[in-house]
């Protein structure tokens, strides 16, 4: 709620004017029954044609003023709600951009996308309706009652009774059915789940010849859903008849009481018509109000979801300037531990090693052993839970963000490209790179050949996520993108997995021959890819169980030997 207010602030005037104009419109609506009463009471009775003409003219004038107010209000409401949503969306996007890896891990990418799109749209609709109706409807309901009092106090008591009863019916039924509708949603979800499950597991279902049982299970889920839907449906079907009964009872009361007042000479027949009209207006607005309440409660739920993302605290802060270097080593890990947010166990335990400038460091271990976690600490995607990670001579936490990320280039496991062209993607590495530099990078990444074959070369379009390129091509483009910036430290996080063997070997060869001799971290599951590394780090279940060259490790590290042997000639592991 507070966030909504913050983002409405810039549009304070419009967002106050919108409901005000709406109320003005309502006010003119409220005059109509009075004018009609005048036509009957004065015009017809006194046979005054001119009076009738002028009153009917007044009706048109009221409608015209109402229209103007309404158009102005709709414009202000549209402007306020759209601008508020737009500024909310911007703030959310900016916040998401600033979120660290660990926050995004916790929240989840698809959730963030929903918050950005459908949730904010929901907020916009809700706000729009709120500005338009939330003041107008109560205003008409109570205004009608007040008008009734101005006509006749006795008959107006009917309004005092009918309005609360209508309120109770409309909002009471909503309160009863709302939780039931949530339950319907849960049951619908289980039907949906069963459908999805049968499609994703179709091979298993058929392999075990369980088609009939699956069909039965689906039918059972659906029967439960239908039963509940019918039950809720019967309850909410009460809304129309009940309100109709109450309003008509009110009509009867107005007519009966009105008749007595007319007999006594305190009321004219035109006034009775006006009272009946006011009662009809009350009902119409109450139903509108109920619908608005549903819409607004939905919008509020969305707003809360958006807020919770907006208020996710940033776990990392970066200094505005980089501290001076204290030594010349490329990367030093000193007793580093890492526990991910919300995880019970450490993902890295007491890791210490040094990588000298220009060295090639191999990182090996099975899935889940902590390879990616280790290299992600170098560009400070995460902060070590304890211990220090030093990069190019100073602790990672003392680097200015942009500078650190420019010196350290990471090629992630998942080759992610962005829509645009090959060129626009490569320029991410360095805005100012020339075509020749781009080709050099492609050459080194073993991607020059296939890019050259594309009809548009560097200007070949890249579709969303790079889906118009094969996995291997995407990997080579992401490697080239990292090379364009000539980083001091280059990290390949298992990012050559889709390359065939020969290309992989050629890539490693060209990495060794890069002109600026970066320090290279190669993460891999294949010992073959790492044999020539200056140092290999062997990880097992978050522990650094060995470091050294290939030959040293074969002698000293049983885990390394086991991995090596499972991939090479000697012995199997099945027995």
């Amino acid at each position: 709620m507070r966030d909504l207010y913050t983002h409405l602030k810039g549009h304070r005037l419009v967002s106050v004017l919108a409901p005000l104009f709406k109320m003005l419109e309502a006010l003119f609506d409220l005059f109509v029954p009075l004018v009609v009463a005048d036509i009957v009471n004065t015009g017809i009775r006194d046979q005054d044609t001119a009076y009738i003409l002028s009153r009917c003219g007044l009706l048109v004038a009221l409608a015209l003023i109402g229209l103007t107010c309404s158009v102005v209000a709709q414009y202000f409401a549209a402007r306020a709600s759209v601008c508020c949503a737009s500024s909310l969306r911007r703030a959310l996007f900016a916040h998401i951009q600033a979120l660290g890896f660990s926050e995004v891990d916790t929240i989840g990418g698809s959730t963030l996308i929903t918050r950005m799109s459908s949730d904010i749209n929901q907020v916009q609709n809700g706000l729009n309706m709120f500005l338009r109706l939330f003041l107008r409807s109560p205003f008409i309901v109570f205004g009608a009652a007040i008008m009734a009092f101005s006509l006749d106090r006795t008959v107006a008591t009917v309004f005092l009774l009918a309005i609360p009863v209508l309120f109770v019916i409309v909002f009471g039924l909503m309160a009863i059915t709302a939780p039931l509708y949530r339950k319907v949603q849960t049951r619908l979800d289980s039907v949906l789940g069963a459908t999805r499950e049968n499609l994703s597991g179709v091979r298993v279902v058929r392999a075990f010849a369980r088609e009939t049982e699956e069909q039965q299970r689906f039918t059972n889920f659906h029967t439960a859903l239908t039963r509940l839907q019918l039950f809720v449906g019967r309850i909410s079907a009460l809304m129309n008849p009940l309100t109709y009964v109450v309003v008509n009872l009110a009509f009867i009361a107005i007519l009966t009481l009105g008749a007595r007042q007319v007999q006594g000479g305190w009321l004219l027949d035109g006034d009775v018509i006006a009272l009946v009209n006011y009662m009809s207006q009350v009902l119409i607005e109450l139903v509108k109000l109920a619908n608005t309440v549903i819409l607004i409660s939905r919008a509020l739920a969305s707003m809360n979801r958006v807020s919770s993302v907006l208020h996710t605290p940033l776990s990392m802060t970066f200094p505005s300037a980089t501290a001076p270097a204290q030594n010349s080593a490329a990367v030093v890990f000193d007793d580093v531990c890492l526990t991910y947010h919300g995880a019970g166990d450490e993902s890295l335990s007491h890791i210490s090693f040094t990588a000298q400038s220009g060295q090639t460091i191999g990182v090996i271990g099975s899935t889940g052993s902590g390879k990616s976690s280790l290299v992600h600490l170098i560009p400070r995607f995460y902060d070590a839970t304890s211990g220090t990670v030093s990069v190019l001579g100073r602790p990672a936490a003392q680097w200015e963000k942009g500078e650190l990320r420019k010196k350290v280039a990471v090629v992630l496991q998942k080759a992610q490209l962005f829509s645009g062209t090959i060129r626009s993607n490569l320029l991410w590495g360095d805005e100012t790179a020339t075509d020749a530099q781009l080709w050099d990078a492609l050459e080194a990444a073993q991607g020059a050949a296939f890019v050259r074959e594309k009809p548009l070369g560097l200007d070949e379009p890249v579709e969303q996520g790079g889906r118009n390129f094969s996995g291997g091509q995407r990997q080579r483009l992401t490697i080239a993108r990292a090379l364009v910036g000539k980083p001091d430290i280059l990290i390949l996080d298992d990012s050559a997995s889709a390359l065939d063997f020969a290309t992989d070997a050629a890539l490693r060869k060209s990495l060794r021959e890069l002109s600026w001799h970066p320090t290279v971290f190669l993460v891999s599951q294949r010992t073959a890819s790492l044999r020539k590394a200056d140092k290999i780090l062997v990880l097992d279940d978050g522990q650094l169980v060995g470091q050294g060259t290939h030959t040293e490790l074969l002698d000293s590290c049983p885990v390394y030997r086991e991995i090596y042997e499972s991939q090479f000639e000697k012995g199997g592991d099945a027995q």
Partner: protein
């Protein structure tokens, strides 16, 4: 689809036919409630006409009118409730019928259809389209019906009272429809623009969020923000226009209605002055003038809803009309396999113009282990599809225990195979349900024995509720390796004579992997096994290695023979298992 566009209507009626009684009741309810509702303004008018002024009130007439209002109210209320209840019943029942049919269809569709259609699309047909259809069509239909009745009834009642004023209403009311139509047409392009830009923005946001790690790794945040701002501003401008112009419909139609109201008031009052109509009748006209335009606006909304519903039901009918897989032959035999599999001269392709398997021959003796190796896309999975008869061969035949698989029941053929795929499908439910999936009648002891044999017992025991732990659709918090162990246990409980195993390519943590290997080994003992193999040990221990490439078995033999041949296998072996780091 070569069907005439009017075709679905007949079928839609067919869907509703079982509920004809509710349809009839609903229509009757609508008619009664419309009629009774239209009476109320007239009764009110009568009562008002009984109040001529001070001391001139005819209380008997007022009471009579009030009684009539009370009765018509009661009738309306009951009719409305019956109408709504009947509509609910029809809508929810028809949805259920449609979904059950669609689901039954899913069970019978050939895998070629399911493999080539994204499951998300099928899910949305079965869930969302059915909802849109039942809401749109059935609710739309009753709204349409009540709307037409209201218009007709109002016209008749007005005409009975006074033709002249009726003419005023009839001539002026279409103005509001024209106004609404005019605005809708004008706003359409603003909506299109908004939709297009919104689509752009969503695509961009999706890409940026999915690639956020890269964005941050390259310090690209500011540039991304600039691009976002551009789209966001464009969206804001387009949205203001779309939201504003579309929100004009309501005030404008209301204005036109007010003008009609004033015109009725004027003519009515002038007539009433001359005694042409009574004051009460004037009030009747005024309230009719208020109500008359409403059904028109509703009906124009209903038309779009109906079109929508028709589009949705067409998508469902398309699914229901897909040809079934070829049913089991009436004389299909039940298989009791000895594990002898013969593939003779089999050819197969997914798409006719791209041949895949050709002239495939293989004879597997009972108890033999067959390892299938080859590069990605060489046809390994296809072979599994044919063995399980998920797909039928195009030419040649596959024999199990000497009988053509096409002359066996699918169920019995498949029950003779135990299948563990890389894609570990588990159902949302308890561990117990999952292990007993193929054999729900198994006792606890049998289940535990199977889990032990699959090396799954120890981790299951450590779960919070043991075998009764509920897991989510995708296996939830279980690791990939644990999921595979559960899949093995599931097969262990059925103990079929033949196995199809697909070794995981992605490496699982070392300890679990050893367990999986051991579980595979104990399962394969004495059973004919087909293994899509990635691990050297599995390959080496196989009786026969099939080396596949481009849909052909190019080499066949045991490890030593194949290595000695120095062919494709030897090359593959070198590239995958040797350094080659030249």
């Amino acid at each position: 689809m070569k069907k005439a566009p009017s075709m679905p209507i007949g079928r839609v009626l067919g869907l509703v036919r079982p509920y004809w009684f509710y349809v009839a009741a609903s229509l009757l309810g609508a008619a009664i409630s419309v009629a009774a509702q239209l009476l109320v303004p007239i009764l009110c008018g009568n009562a008002i006409d009984a109040m001529l002024g001070k001391g001139q009130v005819d209380f008997a007439l007022v009471a009579q009118a009030c009684l009539a209002i009370a009765i018509s109210t009661a009738v309306t209320a009951v009719a409305q409730w019956v109408l709504a209840a009947c509509n609910n019943r029809i809508a929810f029942r028809v949805s259920k019928d449609l979904r059950t049919k669609a689901m039954a269809k899913i069970q019978r569709l050939p895998l070629s259809y399911l493999d080539s259609h994204p499951s998300g699309d099928l899910v949305s047909r079965i869930i969302t389209d059915v909802d849109t259809f039942s809401d749109g069509l059935l609710m739309g239909f009753t709204q349409f019906f009540s709307g037409v009745l209201t218009i007709g009834g109002t016209l008749i009642l007005m005409a009975v009272i006074h033709l002249g004023i009726t003419a005023v209403v009839v001539v002026l009311t279409p103005l509001s429809l024209f106004a609404a139509g005019f605005i809708t047409k004008r706003t359409y392009r603003y909506f299109q623009a908004q939709t297009a830009i919104r689509g752009q923005q969503t695509a961009m946001v999706e890409e940026q969020i999915q690639g956020q790690r890269v964005v941050q790794a390259f310090g690209h945040e500011e540039k991304s923000m600039e691009a976002f701002d551009k789209v966001n501003d464009a969206l804001q401008n387009a949205s203001i226009k779309a939201v504003f112009f579309s929100s004009l419909t309501n005030p404008v139609t209301r204005f036109v209605n007010s003008v009609v109201y004033a015109a009725v008031g004027l003519t009515g009052a002038l007539l009433a002055m001359g005694g042409g109509i009574s004051v009460g009748q004037l009030s009747v006209f005024l309230s009719y003038a208020n109500q008359y335009a409403k059904p028109f606006n509703e009906i124009s909304g209903v038309v779009t809803e109906l079109q929508n519903a028709m589009a949705c039901i067409q998508r469902i009918f398309d699914l229901l009309d897909e040809p079934d897989q070829i049913p089991d032959a009436p004389d299909a035999a039940v298989l009791n396999s000895d594990g002898h599999v013969t593939i003779s001269d089999v050819s197969f392709s997914y798409t006719p113009n791209r041949p895949l398997l050709q002239g495939l021959n293989l004879d597997v003796q009972p108890g033999q282990r067959v390892a299938i190796v080859g590069p990605t896309g060489c046809g390994k999975t296809t072979l599994i599809n044919l063995l399980m008869r998920f797909y039928d061969v195009d030419g040649g035949s596959i024999l199990v225990a000497g009988r053509d698989v096409r002359k066996l029941t699918r169920a019995s053929l498949r029950r003779n195979y135990g299948m563990v795929l890389q894609d570990t499908w588990l159902r949302a439910g308890t561990i117990r349900e999952n292990i007993c999936y193929g054999n729900p009648a198994a006792t606890d002891a049998e289940m535990i024995a199977a889990a032990k044999a699959a090396h799954a017992h120890s981790f299951i025991r450590r779960l919070p509720q043991g075998y009764d732990t509920v897991i989510a659709e995708d296996g939830g918090s279980l690791s990939q390796g644990q999921k595979q162990l559960l899949c093995i246990a599931r097969v262990m409980l059925c103990l079929p004579p033949m196995l199809i195993l697909d070794e995981a390519t992605s490496s699982i943590d070392t300890r679990t992997e050893v367990k999986i290997q051991a579980a595979f080994a104990s399962m394969m003992r004495g059973r004919t096994s087909f293994i899509v193999a990635h691990r050297l040990s599995t390959i080496r221990e196989a009786d026969v290695i099939l080396v596949m490439r481009d849909g052909q078995i190019i080499e066949q033999g045991d490890h030593k023979t194949l290595l000695a041949r120095k062919g494709f296998y030897a090359m593959l072996y070198d590239s995958q298992f040797d350094t080659g780091d030249t």
